[in-house]
């Protein structure tokens, strides 16, 4: 059907106040410098010319007519593809505070129209559920004052490190020690771990900046932070560097980058911190990943051992694994053997009601060095919105159930559980992490928080920015385009990593000291926890407080 329309409206036509972010522009301040439109990552704003009719309405005289006033402004596009993402780069470059996005607190219509051309809405970020999380609501209520020896976070010495790797029961340890048998490898690490973000999902400057910061934490500050690579390999020079010991190498269903890793093994100066086998992730459980072709630069192609400019799919499942038994057998054993059984190997799974089954299998496996469970609030560079928002299991009760299951078997000190998914979602990283520790985690992985805290990632749970998936990251964190990632100074990232971990260390002490703990991480010390919701308290088996 062909029709002619004077003003074009289609089912997808929106007005600016239907959009999630509304650009507020003050013409009285604007100097028309062009920086906002140059900086906008999605081309959402443009210079507009407006014509205003000024009718001459004079009843008594004959000189009627219209005059016109012309003026300029910055206007936002209303088409879905060019909708404002709220990142605020315009505001950050404006010399006159004349422009910036404001969240539309009205119902916004774009939610109905993000599925253009049959493609469901995809984005980066994590579950967009603003507000306090369960972890945020947990408080540490069992304070030692006069009952136990009081501790001073600033004055006393703390050992807040955790163990990654299989811990043998004492009698078994002694037996093996005496007979000279193999003892599973362990690492003493800081309980806050930089979670898996791949070289590829992250820009070179971001990834290397993080590792530089991690190296600084270890070598200058004495904080034994480790960082997981994510799937996508690791630069050969890094594999052969002394910093490899701060790295958890990941193998996932795409098997990207392992050719370089295997090739580098004979030249490694040290062992990696651990090997993480990724079976699932919290942001998109049961779903795979896809590094879009435009992110597969020459460098990324080289690191991943693939041709340049092709899509790189990581399928939802490992193609040759058919059962837990087989997975554990095949991959954990192979990975352990590759590094002479000197490196802990552990799987990472999505938070799920099936997590306990996996755990119970690992308990029986002599090579399993731990289990990482990633809950629904975990972040990702790219996923379908429905996967992020509605698929998966929150970490708190999932972790807790697994831990209590270990407790029932008396194995809670043997196989460390690591938790992830929304730690620090609202900025309370140490509090969230320590709540999980006291619910039973030996440590936590943090990813999105690290991007926000160390590189100024603008994403939030109101849908702000979240364009990691399309390579447009205005901060240069998740882009392979040098025009973007060169905005990020690796030294600045590294400095922020150092700042963040120093601060986390202080906060962990500030949490532990009042509990009267200084010499070991209070893993599973759930009598210290309280929550102001009876149902949550019951489910987590912690104190109900109000």
């Amino acid at each position: 059907m062909v029709s002619v329309r004077s003003i074009y409206t289609s089912p997808s036509s929106l007005t600016y106040h239907d959009l999630p972010w509304i650009i507020e522009h003050r013409e009285d301040r604007c100097t028309l410098c062009g920086r906002c439109t140059a900086a906008c990552p999605v081309g959402a704003i443009y210079l507009t010319y407006r014509r205003q009719r000024m009718p001459k309405l004079d009843v008594l005289q004959k000189k009627r007519g219209n005059e016109y006033r012309h003026f300029t402004g910055i206007r936002q596009h209303t088409v879905i593809e060019k909708r404002c993402i709220g990142c605020g780069m315009c505001a950050s470059v404006c010399p006159n505070e004349a422009i910036g996005p404001h969240v539309n607190d009205n119902e916004h219509r774009s939610a109905f129209l993000l599925n253009q051309k049959g493609d469901a809405y995809k984005r980066g970020g994590r579950r967009n559920a603003p507000g306090k999380t369960v972890l945020d609501r947990i408080s540490f209520g069992r304070i030692s004052m006069l009952t136990d020896p009081a501790l001073d976070a600033g004055r006393h010495e703390f050992n807040i490190n955790t163990i990654l790797g299989r811990v043998l029961p004492p009698e078994e340890f002694l037996r093996r020690k005496l007979t000279g048998e193999w003892i599973p490898p362990t690492r003493e690490i800081f309980p806050f771990i930089i979670g898996s973000m791949s070289f590829g999902a992250l820009s070179p400057n971001m990834w290397l900046g993080l590792l530089q910061g991690v190296a600084y934490c270890n070598e200058v500050l004495g904080i034994p932070v480790v960082m997981a690579t994510g799937e996508g390999g690791c630069p050969p020079w890094v594999l052969k560097s002394p910093f490899l010991k701060y790295i958890i190498l990941q193998i996932a269903s795409g098997y990207f980058g392992w050719d370089e890793i295997i090739r580098a093994i004979p030249d490694m100066q040290c062992d990696p911190a651990a090997i993480e086998i990724k079976y699932g992730q919290g942001a998109k459980p049961g779903d795979g990943g896809l590094l879009m072709w435009f992110k597969v630069s020459k460098l990324i192609a080289r690191l991943r051992g693939v041709p340049e400019g092709v899509d790189l799919p990581s399928p939802p499942v490992h193609q040759t694994l058919y059962s837990i038994e087989e997975s554990v057998m095949k991959m954990i054993q192979t990975m352990s053997m590759a590094f002479g059984f000197r490196v802990p190997v552990y799987p990472k799974i999505s938070g799920s009601t099936s997590a306990k089954s996996v755990l119970n299998n690992l308990v029986r496996n002599p090579y399993a060095g731990g289990l990482l469970i990633d809950g629904i609030d975990g972040g990702t560079g790219a996923a379908y919105n429905v996967s992020m928002d509605a698929t998966g299991h929150p970490i708190a009760s999932n972790l807790r159930e697994c831990y209590l299951d270990l407790v029932r078997q008396g194995r809670q000190n043997e196989i460390p559980l690591f938790a992830a998914g929304g730690v620090g979602k609202n900025g309370n990283v140490a509090q969230n992490g320590m709540a999980l520790v006291m619910l039973g985690a030996s440590g936590v992985h943090i990813g999105k928080y690290i991007m926000q805290a160390t590189a100024g990632c603008l994403g939030n749970e109101m849908g702000r920015c979240n364009v990691c998936n399309v390579g447009l990251c205005p901060k240069g964190i998740t882009s392979q385009n040098p025009k973007l990632y060169r905005r990020l100074d690796p030294d600045d990232v590294a400095q922020r990593v150092a700042d963040v971990f120093m601060a986390i260390r202080t906060e962990v002490k500030k949490i532990m000291a009042p509990l009267g703990r200084s010499q070991s991480l209070p893993i599973g010390m759930s009598d210290a926890l309280g929550v102001d919701d009876k149902a949550i308290a019951e489910r987590l088996q912690i104190n109900y407080i109000c």
Binding site: L32, G34, Q212, K483
Partner: protein
């Protein structure tokens, strides 16, 4: 009272049964005795808080503790009191002391001087942990002092806030470490003199270690004899007076600490010394990505760091007028010439597109060009008919000299004439073979003079005939043989015979019905057909409207146009018919035509003396060689052509209605297209059809223009209103708005389009804000990734 007797009283800590009395009772007795005595001898037995708030500057008091002292000896001591413990003391000696001298000749346990704010505590032995913690100094009073002959225990001087400690390290408990583990944590004031080794565990962010300065050494030297005297060890003075053996731990000021807190190592230094060295001294990506540049850039950058850059895509997209006109007449260029006062050039240019600017553009054409005119979004579309009529009297353009190429054109209607016109102007001999006695085809034969005035038409025909290289053969009827002959005589033969066979229907009485084509042709001749008062026209299209108009002229009172569907008539033809009184009736299905008129499917009679059928014409092709393929549609044969007008016979081409029926302008467009194809073929060049994309009207900036109150009747008025879609109007607005001054205009050698300037964006200045594209009224600037 000039002189008083020195009174000494003794208080016992045990009762008559030698049992310990409580601290409370003991304190009452001591306080009573102190009120009258100058010196007390306390035979204590572990009572606490001995010396609490006793004595004064006016009435000094000496307390000698001979028995075991309890906790907090000298607690809250006042200036004027001297408390001497002959043996060792328990915890918290000098607790909250604010002025007393407390001397312990033996050791003291933990917490000595805790929260002390004045006075002196002098220990003849060593002390336990947490000495000198929370010690204060009120600047209005003297500093509190702690003197220890031996050593101190762990966590010494925590949160010390002004107290001075002297640790002589004589006969220490731990000879390897006289200050214990981790002293000075949280120390914010005061200092510690010490002599002897320490374990270096002192809080580095709180205290700094230095040898005593001259002032400090003087302070110590002056006071050391008194301390030794008080504890009865004056013999040690010489041994303790070796300055080199002493060190000082002094509190770091907040100002000094702020400077220290830039981190243990600057990140740049870490990168240089440790990070880069970890990769053999270089970037860790240098092997996998040689030359990869990772250094810092800003958010707003010119040059290669822009994500997009502007391109001045002048004349890249077609204006709607050019795009939608079947002849693709660049009306925007005509109007630009008019704006520039180059009227003759503008007229000539139009003639180079069409031989009939006044008859077609100016009169009968529905002007497809302006039906999508962008100006309509502001006020009214440009009036192209005004522009066409302006050219009426213009002379034909200068033709190129003859090239010797010859083309035969069968049919002298608009399509054939257009082919001939363009060929002739370009030096190709064009021979028209027309069956009729006049040129013009249906334009001349059927369109009523009311709509296409004879004056206009004759001028354009005579202009046509004035053109060089043009030969017209009238009354030439052709056969297959003749066409084969033409093929031999000419380089090409173009068939442009149009449709001159009326389509009819076979309902009963169809022989009573006059075909519109015949009726109209007769009406324009000397012998018009007899026309009744009541006329019915079957088929209510635009030709039907022309029939109605002619019927009225020839005597009809009432004309009804019937159709089986909604009438397709539109525009000038319909308006003319309706103005004369014609009415439309639909849906109407003709069952039969009788002498009375039309009988519809429902049996109703529509009275008519004259019934004319106007449902279209079809080609008549008896002369067409068999080598030319035809396509049969709805019972008629049409010549099958490609986009250049070529047929299956490579010497024969076809244009106009004989390919597919259309407007006069379609026929003119097809004629020009095929002529251009032939001209290219003669030159051995590649022919390219019109391929320009249509400009997006969103790319124009309409707000620069104000609406006009009327459409205008002169070509200058049209020129003034033209938006110049897709074609730079040289307004300099881009140059003006560019915030970084990147855009400038420069003159260039004119290209085929005759444009002798261009606007350029300087990559070294442009930040890719896109203002040029957002400002350009014509939609020339585009921003593209590069």
């Amino acid at each position: 009272m000039s002189e008083t007797k020195h009174t000494i009283l003794t208080v016992r800590g045990r009762d008559d049964n030698n049992l310990r009395i409580s601290s409370k009772l003991f304190e009452e007795e001591v306080r009573g005795a102190a009120a009258v005595a100058d010196e007390l001898i306390l035979e204590s037995y572990g009572q606490h808080n001995i010396g609490l708030r006793l004595g004064s500057v006016d009435k000094p008091l000496t307390i000698r503790v001979k028995g075991p002292a309890g906790q907090r000896l000298g607690c809250m001591g006042l200036k004027g009191a001297t408390i001497i413990c002959e043996g060792s003391a328990s915890d918290d000696v000098g607790y909250l002391n604010i002025g007393a001298d407390v001397v312990v000749k033996g050791d003291a346990t933990n917490g000595v001087c805790n929260a002390m704010a004045g006075g002196r505590v002098m220990i003849g032995g060593s002390i336990g942990a947490r000495g000198l913690t929370m010690t204060k100094w009120n600047p209005d009073y003297e500093r509190p002092e702690m003197w220890v002959l031996g050593s101190v225990g762990d966590t010494f001087a925590e949160f010390n806030c002004g107290g001075v400690g002297v640790v002589c390290g004589f006969n220490p408990k731990n000879p390897a470490n006289v200050l214990g583990y981790r002293p000075c944590v949280g120390m914010v004031g005061g200092k510690i003199f010490f002599r002897g080794p320490i374990d270096d565990s002192y809080a580095k962010t709180n205290a700094k270690l230095t040898p005593p300065s001259d002032e400090e050494w003087q302070w110590l030297s002056e006071r050391l004899p008194e301390f030794l005297d008080k504890i009865g060890r004056s013999e040690l003075l010489a041994a303790l007076s070796a300055r080199a053996e002493w060190n000082v731990l002094a509190a770091i000021t907040p100002q000094e600490r702020a400077l220290m807190f830039s981190g243990p190592m600057p990140m740049a230094e870490f990168r240089r010394r440790i990070w880069d060295q970890g990769f053999g001294g270089g970037d860790p990506l240098r092997d996998v990505a040689p030359g990869l540049e990772r250094s810092l850039i800003g958010v707003i950058e010119p040059g290669e760091f822009r994500r997009k850059k502007p391109f001045w895509a002048n004349r890249d997209a077609a204006a709607p007028c050019t795009f939608y006109c079947p002849i693709h007449i660049p009306t925007i260029d005509r109007l630009r010439m008019l704006r520039e006062g180059r009227n003759d050039e503008a007229y000539e240019m139009l003639l180079r597109y069409t031989p009939f600017p006044a008859s077609v553009c100016g009169t009968i054409c529905p002007n497809l060009c302006i039906q999508n005119c962008s100006r309509e979004k502001i006020d009214y579309s440009i009036d192209a008919s005004v522009l066409g009529r302006s050219v009426q009297t213009a002379e034909p353009p200068q033709a190129l000299p003859a090239t010797g190429k010859r083309v035969a054109i069968i049919g002298g209607g608009p399509a054939g004439m257009a082919v001939a016109w363009h060929l002739a102007l370009n030096g190709v001999e064009a021979h028209i073979f027309e069956r009729d006695q006049q040129l013009g085809g249906k334009l001349a034969q059927t369109i009523p003079w009311e709509r296409l005035s004879r004056a206009v038409w004759d001028v354009e025909i005579s202009r046509f005939l004035k053109t060089k290289n043009l030969h017209v053969n009238l009354g030439a009827s052709l056969s297959k043989d003749k066409v084969e002959e033409l093929k031999k005589q000419f380089d090409y033969v173009v068939v442009a015979v149009g449709t001159h066979q009326p389509r009819t229907l076979s309902f009963p009485g169809h022989e009573r019905v006059i075909p519109a084509l015949e009726y109209l042709k007769a009406a324009k001749s000397d012998k018009p057909m007899a026309t009744g008062k009541q006329v019915v026209v079957i088929g209510a299209g635009n030709v039907g409207c022309d029939v109605a108009a002619e019927a009225y002229r020839l005597g009809a009172d009432q004309v009804v146009l019937v159709d089986i569907q909604k009438p397709l008539a539109f525009g000038k033809e319909r308006a003319a018919a309706e103005a004369l009184g014609a009415t439309f009736k639909w849906p109407f299905m003709t069952r039969e035509v009788t002498a009375e008129g039309l009988i519809g499917a429902d049996g109703v009679l529509l009275p008519a003396q004259t019934v004319i059928i106007s449902i279209g014409d079809i080609p008549s092709l008896p002369f067409l060689p068999d080598s030319v393929d035809v396509v049969k549609v709805a019972g008629a044969s049409w010549i099958k052509t490609d986009e250049a007008g070529r047929t299956s016979d490579d010497k024969i081409l076809a244009v106009g209605d004989v390919e597919r029926p259309g407007l006069a302008t379609n026929a003119l467009g097809a004629g020009k297209r095929t002529a251009e194809y032939l001209l290219a073929a003669f030159k051995g060049e590649q022919w390219t059809p019109f391929r320009q994309r249509l400009i997006n009207y969103e790319d124009l900036t309409l707000a620069h223009y104000d609406p006009c109150t009327d459409r205008g009747t002169t070509d200058d008025q049209q020129a003034a209103r033209c938006l110049s879609c897709g074609s730079c109007r040289d307004c300099h607005l881009c140059e003006t708005i560019c915030p970084t001054g990147a855009i400038f205009r420069r003159e260039i050698t004119p290209g085929p389009d005759g444009v002798d300037y261009e606007y350029v964006s300087d990559d070294d200045k442009c930040i890719a804000c896109g203002f040029c594209a957002d400002t350009c009224p014509c939609g020339i600037w585009v921003l593209r990734p590069f």
